[in-house]
């Protein structure tokens, strides 16, 4: 294996791990992997991050009868062996009625006592569980929101009718850049960087410019480094955009753009 060949192949480690190689490339890489300690090390060190992706999905509950179906499936397969041993049947105590009733009274007392301590125990656990559920509920609302956002961003980007619009910094902010992805069926994702912090009382507002007029697509709140990503639902009957722009506007936003342009771009291809 020559060095240049190795450099070319080691580059594929990430693609291999996330499953982005074609079958041919995959075979080639696996053959290389067997003989290359460097690539094995690379794969080993990145594997935990990829395994974590397996768990980073919204949690869903399988239907209750799926367990039965799964176990029934394997019962039909070979190799499932031994049957369950039969439990021995208890024999009757009825041969001393008096002793039996005494025993029963004793057992009842013991049972009542056990029951009371069991109830106390369960009450403690219930209180604990309620507390856990309450804190989990707060966490979950946040999670669910994050999951929805991630899901809709990805849905836009995986859309069959995806179009891309590059936005360039205008004289007010020549360093600023943005890229928008728009799908008529799924919505709009905008990612911008290097926006200067807006002056007090002013906000950035995003516009989808149609042949008729600019339509507000909402306010942007960049972080401290001037980056922002926004996912926006757009109506299915939105007229085809001819341009997109970001302007600086009074707090709360305005129905039509009034302020200076910071970003502007037109679609690379006809939408």
């Amino acid at each position: 294996m020559t060095d240049s060949r190795h450099a070319e192949l080691t580059d594929l480690a990430g693609l291999y791990l996330v499953g982005a190689l074609t079958p041919g490339e995959r075979q080639e890489f696996e053959a290389h992997l067997e003989t290359c300690a460097v690539c094995q090390g690379e794969i080993g060190s990145m594997r935990p991050a990829v395994d974590a992706l397996l768990l980073a999905v919204p949690s869903r509950v399988p239907p209750i009868d799926l367990r039965r179906r799964v176990l029934r499936d394997v019962a039909d397969l070979p190799s499932a062996a031994d049957s369950e041993p039969q439990k021995p049947r208890p024999t009757g105590l009825a041969w001393i009625p008096l002793a039996a009733s005494l025993l029963a009274a004793l057992a009842l007392g013991l049972y009542a006592w056990q029951l009371r301590s069991r109830v106390q125990n369960l009450e403690t656990r219930l209180a604990l569980a309620m507390e856990q559920a309450a804190s989990a509920q707060r966490e979950i609302l946040g999670l669910r929101q994050a999951a929805l956002e991630a899901r809709s961003t990805l849905a836009v980007l995986a859309a069959p009718d995806l179009a891309r619009i590059e936005l360039a910094g205008q004289p007010a902010a020549p360093q600023a850049r943005a890229r928008a992805f728009w799908s008529r069926s799924r919505g709009l994702v905008l990612t911008a960087s290097n926006l200067p912090p807006p002056p007090p009382g002013r906000v950035y507002q995003l516009w989808v410019v149609t042949a008729d007029r600019p339509i507000s697509a909402g306010l942007l709140e960049p972080n401290a480094s001037g980056d922002v990503t926004a996912t926006i639902q757009t109506p299915a009957d939105l007229p085809t955009p001819v341009a997109m722009a970001v302007t600086l506007e009074p707090a709360g936003g305005v129905p039509l753009p009034t302020g200076e342009r910071y970003l502007l771009g037109t679609p690379a291809t006809n939408l």
Binding site: G14, M46, V50, L54, P58, P62, R151, T191
Partner: protein
Amino acid sequence: MWALFGVIDPVARNREPFGRRGEDQAADKDAIRRIAAGDPDALGELYDRHARPVYSLAIRIVDDATEAEDVVQEVFAQAWRQAGRFDAARGAVGAWLLNITRSRAIDRLRARRAKPQATPTLTEKPVDQLIDPSETQERLIVTAETAARVRAALGRLPLLQRLAIELAFYEGLTHQEIAERLEEPLGTVKTRIRLGLMKLREALAETGA
């Protein structure tokens, strides 16, 4: 109240599906040994510990409840057949099951894409319907911590790095397909995935995952 316990108890046990907790991993490996010996009860145990993340991943990829159930059945049937070949030295049982799940689910997705008319059932559901409203909040806790950590780490990646990773990992696109979709050169996609994975790895190491 009885119903509530039924829900809370498995949650406490399953909090770490890949088991930072040694006893879970040991129990999994013991179950695998028993499955290899043909014990169906052991498969039931494995199901109880892993069905939820397996089903969650399957439905995330195939985006269809019935198909996700088929995937779950295939995964446990495969575990039943191949338990004897499971190599305990190579990692956690949970990761093994989920890797099988991903590959089964992506196979279905690709088969569906290969048929011309197939995409609509996958894609045209409004986003709001993708989360099952009947799901109780208690049940959501199970993988919440792990998922939250990784999701947070993913969320901190630059958008295009995250997208390249997600389009490959959950949507089963090849790097050529991703490059076409994002209108970017192949080399750029390669770099984004690599950088994204490296950052993800660092983020997980920092939070002690």
